[in-house]
Each structure stands twice: as structure tokens, then as C-alpha cells.
Symmetry: D2
Subunit: 330 residues, 4 copies
């Protein structure tokens, strides 16, 4: 039984804490949030302790692991504190927004190694995992191209944009990770193109809301990513891999398998699941499974700090490319 404290009682904290509470091999010991009311409410609902300060808990004997779902700027300190105390960590992406700070964190982790699973939850989606498995099993022969479509249902508030690190570090970073993972080789070159087509206010933050990226590996495999902060039809999450002997595509998931036909259309499916909490509900559960397997079962952590660092490097390169109009070597 893995004893876990949830750091952060916000949207994602609720998801993780709920999954821990239901997991047969985990026990939710505490919920931590600087906002007392939030911590109390979630702990009350799930029947565990609460706290506004993580430090004591992390260093105490009551827990074996933490899940970090607090704001990005707290991640590095929490990781390092947990590592020092010998506690395992499941940390929401990203580790941080500054590559130097992330590199420093990774150096520290080498001194006090601890299982750290980085929350690139999409890798745990059953369809994404099956696609990766099929590639690795040779089903499409030698991989040649990857195409990732990733569009949010609607833009975040501008206050979020201000501190998000920008489109590439905040949104595309999931796709950079997915691209690396599906390619099976490190991209060595990134070209990106960003525009503001959804909300002109975004220009105030020197950010983009619509982007296209091309990455390439040393052996010449190519990957395209397209992003938009708004898709009228819902949260659009598709992938496609082309290899020498075939192609696999991953369509969007709907809540039901119904298809409607009437005077204006046929075979219409319902709108897509509203956003990541709904679309990736399964992923979060399987991610927790993998974390518990790693900590209790000694299995390797399937996605770690190095993956977070690599994705950030690609995001930084994309930003540089979008500003310079040149492809950037990584």
C-alpha cells in the first residue's frame, strides 16, 4: 500500500486525489493546499488529513510519496525536498519553465535519486499506448512521419496566458513529448510558426494561440504538430503515424457511440469530450497505476525528469524558431 499526499487541491489535484482514494494499492493520507478551505474541502470529501504547508508532511514518516499538482513555480522545490526525504514523486508537467533551473534540478536529483514520474499523462491513454505498442511491434515497418493535432476547446483566461510560459512551453509541450515518444528518436531540429488568430489580446504577452511545428530526427524521421487554443467542435486530440508498411491513425473519443442522421446530416457523432479532465480521465488512472508499479513494484518509471527536460528544450527551440524564422538545432 503506497501512502500518498496530494499537493494541490485544485482541478488536477481533485482528479489525482480521487484516483488515489479509489486505488486498491494506494492510500490517500493528506491533501495539502495553501488555501485552507480548498485543502479542507477535498480532504473532507475523501476522508483524509489536510494541511496548508507541505514541508512537514514530506519530511515525516506518514507518507511514501507525493503527487505534485500545485503551481509550476513550486515544482522544483517540492521535487527536491521529496528527493532529499527519500519520497517518490508523481509531478504534473512541467518541471519548470526555465531550462537552467530544470537542469540544476536534474543534477540535484542525481545525488538523491528518487522515483519521479512526470505527468505526461497522454502517454497513458489506452489508444496512445496501443499506438506506441504497435509501432514498437513493427506493425507499420520503419516509421517515417508523425502528425499530431492538438487543439483546445477554448482559450484560457489571459491571466493564465501571462504566467503560462507561452503556448509552446504550456500547450505544445505535451505534443513535443508525444512526438519524441512516437518517433522513438530525439528530434534534432525544430521549425515553428506561431500566430495570434483567436484572441488579439494574446499579442500583449508576446505569445501565440495558433501554431504549426515541424521536427526532424537525425535519421530524417519527420513530425508535424498543429495547435490552436480554440476548436469550436471540442477538445481535438488526434495522432497519425506513417511507416514503410502502413499507417495508424488515432481518432477523437466521444462519450457515446451514437451516430445521428437527419435532414441536415448523416452519421453525426456528438461533440467531443469537453477538455482534458474528461478526455484523459483514464490516462490519469493508468498513470497512477504506473507510478505505483514503479514505487512498490520496482518497475522502471515510464516517463521521467529527463523527458520533461527534453520537451522543454524542444519548446524553447520552437519559440526561438518562431521568432527567427529559422529551424533551430536541439
Amino acid at each position: 500500500m503506497l501512502r500518498i499526499a496530494m499537493i494541490g487541491a485544485g482541478r488536477i489535484g481533485k482528479v489525482h486525489a480521487g484516483n488515489v482514494a479509489l486505488h486498491p494499492r494506494a492510500k490517500l493520507v493528506a491533501v495539502v493546499d495553501p488555501v485552507e478551505a480548498s485543502a479542507k474541502a477535498l480532504a473532507g470529501a475523501l476522508g483524509c488529513q489536510w494541511s496548508t504547508r507541505p514541508a512537514d508532511l514530506i519530511e515525516g514518516r506518514e507518507i511514501d510519496a507525493i503527487i505534485v499538482g500545485s503551481p509550476t513555480n513550486t515544482h522544483i522545490e517540492l521535487i527536491q525536498r521529496a528527493a532529499a526525504a527519500g519520497k517518490a514523486v508523481l509531478c504534473e508537467k512541467p518541471i519548470g519553465l526555465d531550462i537552467a533551473a530544470v537542469d540544476h534540478c536534474l543534477d540535484e536529483l542525481k545525488k538523491t535519486p528518487t522515483p519521479l514520474l512526470l505527468g505526461f499523462n497522454r502517454r497513458f491513454d489506452p489508444s496512445a499506448a496501443a499506438m506506441k505498442h504497435a509501432i514498437d511491434a513493427g506493425e507499420i515497418g520503419t516509421l517515417r512521419q508523425v502528425v499530431i493535432t492538438s487543439r483546445d476547446p477554448g482559450p484560457p483566461p489571459l491571466s493564465y496566458v501571462a504566467t503560462s510560459g507561452g503556448l509552446f512551453r504550456d500547450m505544445t509541450i505535451h505534443d513535443f513529448d508525444m512526438g519524441r515518444w512516437l518517433l522513438g528518436e530525439e528530434p534534432t531540429e525544430v521549425f515553428a510558426c506561431g500566430n495570434v488568430l483567436v484572441d488579439p489580446q494574446v499579442t500583449r504577452f508576446n505569445d501565440y494561440d495558433t501554431a504549426m511545428v515541424i521536427m526532424r530526427t537525425a535519421s530524417g524521421k519527420q513530425c508535424h504538430i498543429n495547435n490552436c487554443r480554440q476548436a469550436a467542435y471540442g477538445y481535438d486530440q488526434r495522432m497519425e503515424v506513417l511507416g514503410s508498411s502502413g499507417m495508424i491513425t488515432n481518432d477523437n473519443l466521444c462519450a457515446t457511440t451514437l451516430r445521428r442522421s437527419n435532414a441536415s446530416a448523416t452519421q453525426a457523432r456528438e461533440p467531443l469530450l469537453s477538455f482534458f479532465l474528461e478526455r484523459y480521465a483514464d490516462s490519469y488512472r493508468f498513470e497512477l497505476d504506473a507510478f505505483i508499479d514503479a514505487v512498490l513494484g520496482g518497475k522502471p518509471v515510464p516517463v521521467g525528469a529527463e523527458d520533461g527536460r527534453h520537451a522543454l528544450l524542444l519548446a524553447d527551440a520552437a519559440l526561438e524558431s518562431a521568432r527567427s524564422g529559422r529551424s533551430v538545432r536541439v
Copy 2:
């Protein structure tokens, strides 16, 4: 080159005459219609002779074959006249609505055999033909069940209902033929259930506008047909075959391969092709090919008078079943 006269310048006459005019191995010699204006107009458009009386043409030397697209009550006489004159016939279904008259016609045809292709055009649809081919090639193992969905976009005028012979003889007859063909064995038992759910006026004609049928062959293969005179989403033409090692379904055809996604639906395809002239445009062309192959190339006629007779027997049995509530032996 097959020299053809088109009998009937209505909706279906225009389709056949146009196909003949464009066919590299056929020549449209004349269009015949009792309505002079219709005959003239179509002949003018396609550059051939016209007439209001078929008799002289059929018996003359200028033509090798006729296509019969005139009203049902003229079919038998035209077929017999053509047979007597040694001319080939492509006749729209049905041969007739009365089984005794049809039997008599078939007897007469035995005396002066002539190539006669009966216009069960759906057999020539590329998808239907590919499905039949796959069954015959053993792709689904031993056939067990056939399901045919056949719904019109909207009901015909009541004046048509009055003389149509009724739903089973007029509309379901195509599905009886399709069922026989896909089953690959004669149905020996028919159960049918008919209702008036679209237009209450239809009851005046002792007819139905919505029906479900089950047929069974001697070896126990089963076939379901469902019909409705109205489908708000268009002309619905689907088929499904289940065998011991698999299933093949045949979806509806759309004019384009577009799929629309917006705030109210995803992957919506456009409405279905409006009706049989659009949906089965290819079928009519391939049917003409098969007719020419039979007459000029000595190939067997793929669907003939006996098929028309069998379909009518099933329609009659369905009507008897719908009225009696019992399954009827054929």
C-alpha cells in the same frame, strides 16, 4: 455495336437512353413514348429517331434490342413482341404484378428464347457486387444471416400507390431480389408485418408504408428486410451479411467524402443522395454493360425473367403473411 430502342421517355427512360447514347458498344436508334412531346424531346437531345408506337420498331430491322421503361402494365406485351421478333430485352422490374400473367409470359418465352435482362439494377451497384463476390469467394465462411435496410426518402403520390401493386410488390421487391441473391438459396418461408405509420391515407388502398420481413431458406439461413416509405435523412440503402468467419456491411454512399465538425456535432457527413436515380447511377451503367455483354458477347444474362418471377412470389407471400399473421411457405 448494339442498336437499341428505348421504350418510355420518362424518368428512367432518360437514364437508360443517356447511358446508351454514351456507350461505346451501343447505338441509340430511337425513343418511343405515347406522349409525342416526351419522345421528341428526349430523341432531340440525344440525336435519334422518335416514335409514339413501339410495334413497328420492334418488328423492324433497324434495332437489335429494346429497353423497356414504360409502365408496368405494358411490360409483358412488349417482352413477348420482342421475343417473337428475336430482339433482346432489358426490362425494368417488375415483369408484371400478377403471378399468373408472369408465369404465362415465362412459358411463352420458352418458345422463342431471347436474352432478357430484368432490371434489378441494385445487383450492379459496385458495392453490392463486391459484397456478393466476397460471399462467393468464401470471405465470411458459411453465410448465416442477411439484413437489408431499404428506406425511401419520402412517400410517392397516392396516385402511384393506387396502381403500384402495393409496398411488397413495388418497393420490397428489390429487397426480395437482393435477399435471394445474397442468400444464394431460395427462401422457402416468408413472414411479413406491415403498418401505416407515414401517411394514414395509405390505408385507403389497403397498403402499408412501413414493413419488416423475415425470410428463411431450406438450410436455415435467415434474412431480415426493413422498409419505410420515408427516411428524413435520405435514401437509405444498407446491407449486412453474417457468416461463420466474419461480417460484411455496406454503408450508404454520400456525394462527397467530407466530414463536418462544429459546436453541435462531429464527423457529420452530408445528407444521403436524394433517391435511386442518383444513388444507383452507376448501377444503371453497369447493368447496360452486362446487357451488351450478354447480347453481343454471348455471356449469360446475370438476372432474368425467372428472378423476376421469384421476387414476385416472395412479395405475394409477404402480403399473405402480413394479412394472416402466419409465415407463408413459398
Copy 3:
């Protein structure tokens, strides 16, 4: 918190007991099974008591409700005992295989009414529920036809066939319930046709393994059901409803949203989920929700003993029809 005892530690017992154990408003108190090893194993895995005899538990104070997943021939006694003790019941279908016994049980229940949810689990499938909701919301106008396809991946052992009550009472009964529910009116007439096409041994039990049914309501709405004990491509569960203003179809569910394209096919989805435990995993959870809502929340039980009785009446009528070749009034 609803305190529940699970009666039966077999395949379905494991599903229900696991769902109860994870449910935030339920507590699994005990597992009961005459086979001690089974009871012990399941209770051990889920951390609750076990017993080989249900009687004491049902009459004791430790539980509020039972879930009945024991063999069919025990259902009626368990239901009556629970009713007498004032305990709620979630009972797997069917109540019984003999209509007289079922009628007697229903009479008894009137004396000591207890919340009884009958496990027609498919009603709780999210897509089925959304389809019913759409019909009730008027989305397709006036309902005209229902088509239900329900095929098992492979036949059960002959030992099961021997005691199953026959195809109509064992397998089609789910579709009779689904048909009644979607039609929104009682079928008053049933025609059925059964054959042995999968395993000739089935004839020894005077049973069928392949069937087609047509039902009709008093207002003339029609419903077709097709069944086969074997579908090479997996557990096939589809539905279609046609109304005056549109159609809704419910496709099969796959484990992933992948589509494969290679030299032999395009857009191939993976095989279907293997059988009901996988396909309807969600249904069982939502069914338990509904049960808890009824018992603790005072909401109406969405599917009860009367529904079980009606489905059995239809199954009996289908059997009579299949044997007589006549449609049977219900």
C-alpha cells in the same frame, strides 16, 4: 452508506462485488457462495466477510441490501427472503425461467414491497441511455422502427445450453427488454424464427443458436432483433431507431480509437471487446449507482420485477412462434 452482501462469487459476482467495494456510497459487507473457496477468495481480495449460506446474513442487521448473482434457480427464493426481511435487492436477470413462478413471486412482492432493481444492465450503458434519452426528447420525431443486433462472440458450453431456458429466455431476453424500452410501448405481437447454424449439437436440447424476431406494438411500431451465438469478429451489440424526423444508430465500442491502414485494408479498427463483462463494464457501475440512488435517495427503481416478467412473456411468445410459424399475441 449502503451495506451490501454479494450473493454469488462467480464471474458476475466478482464484477458487482468489485464495484461495491470501490463505490463511495456503498460498503461490501460480505460475499456468499456455497463453494467455500470461492467465497473466501473474493472476500479476501476485497476485505470483507464471507459465508456459504445466505440466509443468516439476509435476515441479520449488518446489511441493507443484497446483490443476487447466484444461479437462476435460486433467484426467486432469495428475492422473497430479502423482501420479507426488508432488504433491497439488485437481482441479475432473469427472475426465473417459468412465468407462473415469476408471477407468484411478483404477487408475493406486493405484500412486502422492497426496492428491487432487475439487472438489465444494458439500459445503463452510456450510449443506450443516450439513445433512449434522445428518443424521449423527441429528437427523431415519432418512433417507427427499432433494429437490435445482438451476437455473442462464441457459443456457451452445451452444459449451459441444457439449463439456460433456451436462446430466447437466456440471450434474446436482453433484447426483448431493450426493444420494449426503446419502443416505449408494449409489444403485443411477436414473430420469431430460430435455427441451429453454429453447432448441430444444440438441436439435442431443442434449442436454437441463430434467430430473428419481429415484434409489433398496438400502435404499429415495429422492432427487429437478430441474434447469433457466434460472431467471429467479437461481441456485436448494435441498435438503430428510426423516427419520423431522423435515425440514431449505436455502433459497437472498441477498446481504442485506433484505425489501421496497410496493403490489405484501410481504417481497420481492432476486434470488438471480447464479451459482456468488458463491453458492459460501465453499465454495471452505473446500474449500481442507480440502485444506490433508489435505496438511499428514494429515487424510483429504473428497471424492476415487472420488466423482468414482460421480457419473459416475450421470450415465451417467441418460442411459441418459432415452433408454430405464427405470430403470437402477448
Copy 4:
């Protein structure tokens, strides 16, 4: 009636000549090919004159228009000769492979203007045309992104690669045209990335066989193109447009609407149409329609020499980008 001479009796010449022969408003007067046997064979099959030298025909009075399906290096001379003689031209793409020569040709055309339709046949595909129509009708709001997937079933012979002008000028040029057309604005910036992943021999020609491109217009609309000279599953031709209020995708077209389900897959469609002659058979017919409408009916030519020039500019920019690693302004 438009009197047409077909220049070139190869693969594409046969398609065009056949369409002309069947067209009710056109007459195929002659087929011209330097290979006498080819010219003779095609002319014989379609019942028209033949010649090995185009000059006399173009300048003679017997024809009103030519269709140019001869090798690329003959296009400019034929166009200019036809323009000088006042004959209309339907010219296969590209006008030429050298932008200076193309510019010179366009200058000459200004002196003796003649209807010139450039054979970007994909614009005439019913689905592509419907997509463009939907965009123009405002169906997806303001356009933001275009994604074009265009993969050949297999690589051309190396001898073809040697003179093709390279992947971007030969293959991607169709997608550059499609991108421009769907975007509705000129791309002002091109980034491209090319690799040799199919056949290493292609490197000998300093060419690529796998490519990804991003284009951007002045207002920031983005377009991605991906190409591969080999797709094991057939000729892959898809498009997607994202706008502020929706998305439209265009799937591949199959020869039938069948879907197969068996033990290894469900809903498998058959392999895609083999290559452009099959996939775009309709396009060539509608293209001819548009040409005849322009010449005989005075309608504007829907795609002309300027479009050819623009697509070539984009191809040249892509090549420069692929070699330099920078986005190139157009």
C-alpha cells in the same frame, strides 16, 4: 461543339481523349504523339485522326482547342503556338519547371490572350470543390489552418525522378495549389523539410521522397503539407480546414462502401484507389466541363497560368528552404 486535339497519347492523354470523346459538347478531332504507334492506337480506338506533329493541327482550322498532355518540356512552346493561333488550351501542370521561362510565357500570353486552363485537376474533385464552397460560404467561420496529406502509393522510376524537377515541383506542386486555393490568400512564407526515407537512390538526384511543409499567409493563416512517395495502403489524399466555428475534413475515397469485420479487425475498408487516374477520374471529367464552359460559354477559367506560376514559386521557395533550413519569403 468544341473541336479538340489531344497532344500526347500517353497515360493522361488517354484519359483526356476518352473524356472528350464522350463529352456531349466536345468532339475529338485528332490525337498527336511523336510515337506514331501510340497516336494511331488511341485515334483508332476513339475514331479520330492522328498525327505525329502538332504544329499543323494547331494552326489549322479544324480545331478550336488543344489539350496538352505531352512532356513538360514541350508545354511552353505548345501554349504559345496555340495562343498565337487563337486556340484555347487545357494544359497539364506544370507550365514549366523554370520560373524565368514560365514568366516569359506568361508575358507572351498577355499579348495574345487565349483561354488557358491549367490542369490542377484536384480542384475539380467533387469533395475538394464542396470543401472550398463550404469555406467560401462561411461554414467554418474565419479560416485558420489547412492540413494537406498527399502520399503516393509508390515511388516513380528513377528515370522519372531525374527529370521531374524534384519532389516539390513535381508532386507537392498539387498541394501548393490546393493550399493556396483553400487558404484564399497567398502564402508569403514557406518552410520545408525534405528527406530520403523510401529509396536511398533518390539522393543521387539531390532530391527528396518524404517532405513536410509549413506555409503562412500575410494575415497569419497556416498550412501544413505532408508528402511521401510511398504509402503501403494506397494513394492517400486527405485535407482538413479549421476555422473559428468549425472544421471540415476530407477522407479518402474507396471504390466501395463495404466494411469488413472478422477475427483480426472490424470495419476494415478496402485498400484505397490505386493512383491518381482512378482517384481523380471524376476530376478530369469536371475539369473538361469547366474548360468547355469557359471556351464555349464565356465563363471565367477557374484555374489559369498565374496559378501555375504561383505554385511553382512556392515549390522553388520550398526547395530553397529545405536546403537552407530557413523559412523563405515568397
